[in-house]
C-alpha cells in the first residue's frame, strides 16, 4: 500500500493494526466487516455440519444415525445458525466494509455502536451454540411455535432460543440504525440518493425492515420467556391465551426477515452484473424502487406462512393476493438483470458465474414462491419438503450464491489479491450441481407427502431415491465449500496482486487502494454521476459506446478540500465490555429458573454492561489530531 501522503499531511496518525488488542478495540468499519465475514464463515461450518448430519440421517428410510431428540436440536440449530449467524452477518460484513467506501465516507456514523453490534452478535451466537454443551439446544424449530416452545419448562433449551434470538435482534437493531444513519448523513458531496449504488439502496431497505420488524419479535420472545419462567399465560389455550398470536408476531418479523437476507444479495448482483457486462445497470430506478416496493409489501404478506392455521378464507384470500403482488417487483428485478446483460460484452470470472447462478436459482425459488400464494395448493405444500426446497432455492441458490459472488468480487479490495480463477470455477460448478442435486428432489418429496422436521420416514412411501440424491448433493456442496475456503486461504497468501481496480469497475470503493487505508480515501471525492468512477475512466462516443478517456480528457477528479484534517474515531475497548455485559445478562436470564447461579450471572452482567456504557459515554470521541 503506497501512500502518497504522509500522516503529517493528513493531520492524523492511524492506530496500530497489529495484534489481538487492535482487533478487540477496533472501531474501523472495514476490520469489523472482516470480523463479521470470518465469524459468518466459521458458523457456516457449524451450520453446514448440522446439515450434513441431518442429510445423513435421512439418506435412507428409518435412519438411526442420531436420535429423534438430537435430530430436533440439530434442525432447529441449523435454521437459527444459518439465518442469524451466517447470512445476516455475511450481509453485515459486506455492508460494514463497503457502504462507507461506496458512498465516499471515512467510516460509519457510529463507529463504537458498530463495534458493539458486532461483539454482541458474536457473543449471542456463542451463547446459543454453547447450549449443545450446557443444558441442551433449542429443539422447537427456528419458528419456536407456542405452546410447544413454552411447554417443557424442565429444560432450558427454549430459554436459549428466546434469549439468544432476543440478543441477536438487539445487535441487528444497533447495526441497522447505524447503517441508516451512515447512508443518510455521510455521503460524499454529490452522492445524491439516486446516485447511490444499488447495494447501498438495498441495505437501506433491509435496515429499515429490521428496525421495524425486530421490535415485534422482541415482544413475542419476552412473552415466551415470561410464559416459561414466570407462569405467564400469553400462549396457554386453557387460560384463553392464543397460540396463533405468536405465529402472527413471529411472521411479522419473519417474513421481512426473508427480505433482509436476500435484499443485500440483490444489491451485490446489481453491482457485479454491470461490471462484467460493461454496461450500466438496466433501469436503475426500476431496480431501486422495486426494492423499496418489496420492503413495503414485505410487511403485508406475513400470514401466508399461516394458510393452514385456520384464519378463515377471507384473510387467506387477502394474504394470498398480497403475496402474488410481491412477485411483481421481484420479477422486475430479474428482468432488469437480464436487460443489463443484454447487448453487453460478458466475461465470466467467478463473481459473474455465481451471479448468473444466483439469477437462475432465484428464478426457480421465485416461481415456487408464487405457487405458495395459491392458497389451496399451499395447504399441500406447507410444512412439507416442497417448502424446504423453495426456501433453500431462495436463501442458498439466491442469497448464498449472491454472497459468494460478492466474496469473489470484493476479495481483492479486502486483501489486495485476486482469488484463484481456476479454483473459483471448480467451486462454482460443484456448488451449482451439488445445490440442485440436494434441493430439486425435495420439491418432489414434499409433493409426495413428506413432511419437514421429521427425524425419520417409513419405507414404502416412495421417498427413498429422492432422499438419497439429496444427501449426495449435500456432500457435494460441502466439497464445493472446501474449494472455497482453500481458495480464500491460498489466495490471501499467494494470490495475484490486484491493484486498485482489477475488474475495471464502476463504483467508488475501487478508486482507493486495495486494501484501503484506515481513512478509506485520502481525499473525499465529489460525485457527479451514478457509477461515478466509470465516468472518470470512460466517455461515450456518438454510437453510445463506451470509450476510454485519455488522462488529459479525464483530468483530475474533483475532491473535497478538508481544512481541518481528518476526523477519525479512536479505538475503544468499551464496546466489547458493554457487549460482554449484555451477553452475560442474557446467559443469566437463560438460567433464571435454575436458582442463585442465574441471578448471580445476571448481576455480574448488569455491572459489566454498566461499566461499558458509562465508560463509553465518558470517553472522548476522538483523540485530538493536531
Amino acid at each position: 500500500m503506497a501512500l502518497t501522503t504522509t500522516p503529517d499531511d493528513l493531520g492524523y496518525t492511524p492506530p496500530s493494526t497489529k495484534g489481538l488488542w487492535s482487533w478487540i478495540t477496533t472501531i474501523d468499519h472495514k476490520r469489523i466487516g472482516i470480523m463479521y465475514a470470518v465469524s459468518s464463515l466459521v458458523f457456516f461450518l457449524v451450520g453446514g455440519l448440522e446439515a450434513l448430519l441431518i442429510r445423513t440421517q435421512l439418506a435412507t428410510a428409518n435412519g438411526t444415525l442420531v436420535s429423534a431428540d438430537a435430530y430436533n436440536q440439530l434442525f432447529t440449530m441449523h435454521g437459527l445458525t444459518m439465518v442469524f449467524a451466517v447470512i445476516m452477518p455475511i450481509a453485515a460484513a459486506f455492508q460494514n466494509y463497503f457502504i462507507p467506501l461506496m458512498i465516499g465516507a471515512r467510516d460509519v456514523a457510529f463507529p463504537r455502536l458498530n463495534a458493539f453490534a458486532f461483539w454482541l452478535f458474536l457473543f449471542s451466537v456463542v451463547l446459543l451454540t454453547s447450549s449443545f454443551f450446557l443444558g441442551g439446544s433449542p429443539d422447537g424449530a427456528w419458528v419456536g411455535y407456542a405452546p410447544l416452545s413454552t411447554q417443557i419448562q424442565e429444560y432450558v433449551r427454549m430459554d436459549y432460543y428466546s434469549i439468544g434470538a432476543q440478543l441477536l435482534g438487539f445487535a441487528s437493531l444497533a447495526g441497522s440504525i447505524n447503517f441508516v444513519a451512515t447512508i443518510f448523513t455521510m455521503r460524499a458531496p454529490g452522492m445524491t440518493l439516486m446516485r447511490m449504488p444499488v447495494f447501498v439502496w438495498m441495505s437501506v431497505v433491509s435496515s429499515f425492515l429490521l428496525i421495524f420488524s425486530l421490535p415485534v419479535i422482541g415482544v413475542g420472545l419476552w412473552q415466551i420467556f415470561i410464559d416459561r419462567n414466570f407462569g405467564g399465560l400469553f400462549y396457554e389455550a386453557q387460560a384463553s391465551g392464543d397460540p396463533l398470536l405468536w405465529q402472527h408476531l413471529f411472521w411479522i418479523f419473519g417474513h421481512p426477515e426473508v427480505y433482509v437476507l436476500i435484499l443485500p444479495a440483490f444489491g451485490i448482483v446489481s453491482e457485479i452484473l454491470p461490471v462484467f457486462s460493461r454496461k450500466p445497470l438496466f433501469g436503475y430506478s426500476f431496480v431501486v424502487f422495486s426494492g423499496i416496493a418489496i420492503g413495503f409489501l414485505g410487511f403485508g404478506v406475513w400470514a401466508h406462512h399461516m394458510f393452514t392455521a385456520g384464519m378463515g378464507p377471507v384473510a387467506e384470500a387477502g394474504f394470498g393476493l398480497a403475496t402474488m403482488l410481491i412477485a411483481i417487483p421481484t420479477g422486475v428485478k430479474i428482468f432488469n438483470w437480464i436487460g443489463t446483460m443484454w447487448g453487453g460484452r460478458l466475461t465470466f470470472p467467478a463473481p459473474m458465474l455465481f451471479t448468473v447462478g444466483f439469477i437462475a436459482m432465484f428464478l426457480i425459488g421465485g416461481i415456487s414462491g408464487v405457487t405458495h400464494a395459491v392458497v389451496p395448493a399451499n395447504t399441500q405444500q406447507h410444512d412439507s419438503y416442497y417448502v424446504v426446497a423453495h426456501f433453500h432455492y431462495v436463501l442458498f441458490g439466491g442469497a448464498v450464491f449472491g454472497y459468494v459472488a460478492g466474496a469473489y468480487y470484493w476479495f481483492p479490495k479486502w486483501t489486495g489479491r485476486l482469488m484463484n480463477e481456476t479454483i473459483g470455477k471448480w467451486n462454482f460448478w460443484i456448488m451449482f450441481i451439488g445445490f440442485n442435486l440436494t434441493f430439486a428432489p425435495q420439491h418432489i418429496l414434499g409433493l409426495d407427502g413428506m413432511p419437514r422436521r421429521t427425524y425419520r420416514y417409513a419405507e414404502g412411501m416412495g421417498w427413498d431415491v429422492w432422499n438419497l440424491m439429496s444427501t449426495i448433493g449435500a456432500f457435494l456442496i460441502a466439497v464445493s465449500f472446501l474449494f472455497f475456503i482453500y481458495n480464500l486461504i491460498a489466495s490471501y497468501r499467494h494470490g495475484k496482486v490486484a491493484g486498485n481496480d482489477p475488474w475495471d469497475a464502476r463504483t467508488l470503493e475501487w478508486t482507493t487502494t486495495s486494501p484501503p487505508p484506515v481513512y478509506n480515501f485520502e481525499e473525499v471525492p465529489v460525485v457527479h454521476h451514478q457509477d461515478d468512477f466509470w465516468y472518470r475512466k470512460y466517455g461515450v462516443d456518438e454510437d453510445g459506446r463506451a470509450v476510454k478517456l485519455t488522462p488529459e480528457q479525464a483530468g483530475k477528479p474533483d475532491v473535497v478540500v478538508e481544512e481541518h484534517g481528518m476526523h477519525m474515531p479512536s479505538p475503544s475497548y468499551f464496546p466489547i465490555i458493554a457487549a460482554t455485559g449484555v451477553a452475560l445478562l442474557g446467559a443469566g436470564l437463560v438460567f433464571i429458573s435454575s436458582g442463585p447461579i442465574g441471578f448471580a450471572v445476571i448481576a455480574l452482567g448488569a455491572v459489566v454492561a454498566l461499566w461499558g456504557i458509562v465508560g463509553w459515554a465518558a470517553e472522548p470521541v476522538t483523540r485530538e489530531m493536531h
Partner: protein, 359 residues
C-alpha cells in the same frame, strides 16, 4: 436453448409421472373431491410456472451465450441505461399472469372452505402428543357416548365427512395428502376440513401424518384413513360401539388384572362383564383401547399391529418411538409418552393376549 427446454419438460414429466400408486401419501395421487380440486389447480400453476421458467430462463441463457465476449471483439457495448416502455411492459405482464392464477385460486379456496352440505358425517379429531383421537359425535352408544377410536379413522366412500379438529396440548396438523390439504389442529380453537373420498376407492387405506412440528416424536405421529363402502362403514361403526368382554379365564384374564392396575392410568376401555353389565374403565388420557385388536397399526401407526410388535411396545415403548414419559403429569393431564413399567415376560404376554382379543 432447446436442450434446456427439453430438460425442463422431461423433469416436469418425471414429476407428474410420479403420481402412481406406489406413492401412498402423495398429493399428486388425489383420491377425493377436495384433493382433486387442489391437484387440478396445482397442475395449472405448475405448467404456467414451467412456461415462465422456460421463457425467462431461456432469455437468461440466450444472453449468456449470445453476448459472451468473443475473441477479437474489443468493441465496447452501447451504454444503455434502460427503456421505460419496456420496463413498464414487463411489470404488467406478471400482473396479467397473476390475475390468471388468482381467479381459480380464489374459486377453489372458497369452495374448499365452504361448509359441508346435505348428508355428511361429522368426525371430531383431537391431536395429542403423539397420536390422534377420532370421535364420531353422531354415532352414539346406548349411554350417549360417541364412538371413539385412535390413529385409524374410518370414513365412508363417496360422501362428505366434515372434520372438526382441536388439540389438547400443542399445535398439530392433520394431513392426508391424497385426500385433502392439511389443516392445523390448534389448542383452544376448532378448525374444520372436508373430505369427500372418491366412491371407487372404497376399501383402500390412505396414510397421513402430522405436518406441524409438535416435539420429540413428531415424525411418528402418523395415522391411517380407511375409506369404507357405506355398508362396511356401518358394520364397522356398530362393532366399535360394542363393549369388549372382560375375560374370565386364561392368560387374557390375567392380562385384564394388569390392565386395570396399570394401563387404565391413562387408557380407557368399555368393557362388559360376564353378567352383561357394561362399564367404562380407566382415564381418557391415552388412546381408547376397547377395540385395539381391530386396528391394523399401533404406536401412532408406526408399526403394524402384531403380537410381537405389541409385546415390544409394552416391554420397551421407547424402542418403538421416542417419547418423554418422565415428564408425564397425570394429575395435570400432561402425557408425553407411554412409560416402561418393567413388566415381566409373563405379564406382557398376558396383556398382548387380552388386547389382541379385543377386536
Amino acid at each position: 436453448m432447446i436442450r434446456i427446454a427439453l430438460l425442463v419438460v422431461a423433469l416436469a414429466a418425471v414429476l407428474l409421472a410420479s403420481c402412481s400408486s406406489d406413492l401412498p401419501q402423495s398429493s399428486l395421487n388425489p383420491r377425493s373431491v377436495e384433493a382433486e380440486s387442489i391437484d387440478k389447480l396445482w397442475d395449472f400453476i405448475f405448467w404456467l410456472g414451467t412456461a415462465v421458467f422456460i421463457v425467462v430462463g431461456g432469455a437468461l441463457g440466450y444472453a449468456v451465450i449470445r453476448f459472451r465476449k468473443r475473441p477479437g471483439n474489443e468493441q465496447e457495448p452501447k451504454q444503455i441505461h434502460g427503456n421505460t416502455r419496456l420496463e413498464i411492459a414487463w411489470s404488467i405482464i406478471p400482473v396479467v399472469l397473476l390475475v390468471i392464477i388468482a381467479i381459480p385460486t380464489l374459486n377453489t379456496l372458497f369452495d374448499l372452505r365452504s361448509p359441508a352440505e346435505g348428508d355428511f358425517l361429522r368426525v371430531e379429531v383431537i391431536g395429542h402428543q403423539w397420536w390422534w383421537e377420532f370421535q364420531y359425535p353422531d354415532i352414539l352408544d346406548e349411554d350417549g357416548r360417541p364412538l371413539t377410536t385412535a390413529n385409524e379413522m374410518h370414513i365412508p366412500a363417496g360422501m362428505t365427512s366434515e372434520l372438526t379438529m382441536t388439540s389438547v396440548d400443542v399445535i398439530h396438523s392433520f394431513w392426508v395428502p391424497s385426500l385433502a390439504g392439511k389443516r392445523d389442529v390448534v389448542p383452544g380453537r376448532d378448525t374444520v376440513m372436508k373430505i369427500t373420498p372418491d366412491a371407487d376407492i372404497a376399501g383402500q387405506m390412505v396414510p397421513g401424518q402430522c405436518a406441524e412440528y409438535c416435539g420429540l416424536s413428531h415424525a411418528d405421529m402418523r395415522f391411517r384413513v380407511f375409506v369404507d363402502a357405506e355398508a362396511d362403514f356401518d358394520v364397522w361403526a356398530a362393532e366399535q360401539l360394542e363393549a369388549s368382554p372382560i375375560p374370565t379365564s386364561g392368560a387374557a384374564a390375567a392380562g385384564y388384572e394388569t390392565f386395570t392396575q396399570l394401563c387404565t392410568t391413562c387408557h380407557q376401555a368399555k368393557v362388559a362383564a360376564a353378567d352383561g353389565s357394561v362399564e367404562v374403565v380407566g382415564a381418557a388420557l391415552g388412546p381408547d383401547l376397547t377395540h385395539f385388536g381391530s386396528r391394523t397399526s399401533l404406536a401412532g401407526a408406526v408399526e403394524e399391529n402384531t403380537a410381537e410388535h405389541l409385546a415390544q411396545w409394552i416391554d420397551d415403548p421407547e424402542s418403538v418411538k421416542p417419547m418423554a414419559p418422565e415428564l408425564n403429569d397425570v394429575a395435570e393431564g400432561r402425557i408425553l409418552g407411554m412409560p416402561d413399567y418393567g413388566l415381566d415376560e409373563r405379564q406382557i404376554q398376558d396383556l398382548v393376549e387380552l388386547l389382541e382379543s379385543w377386536k
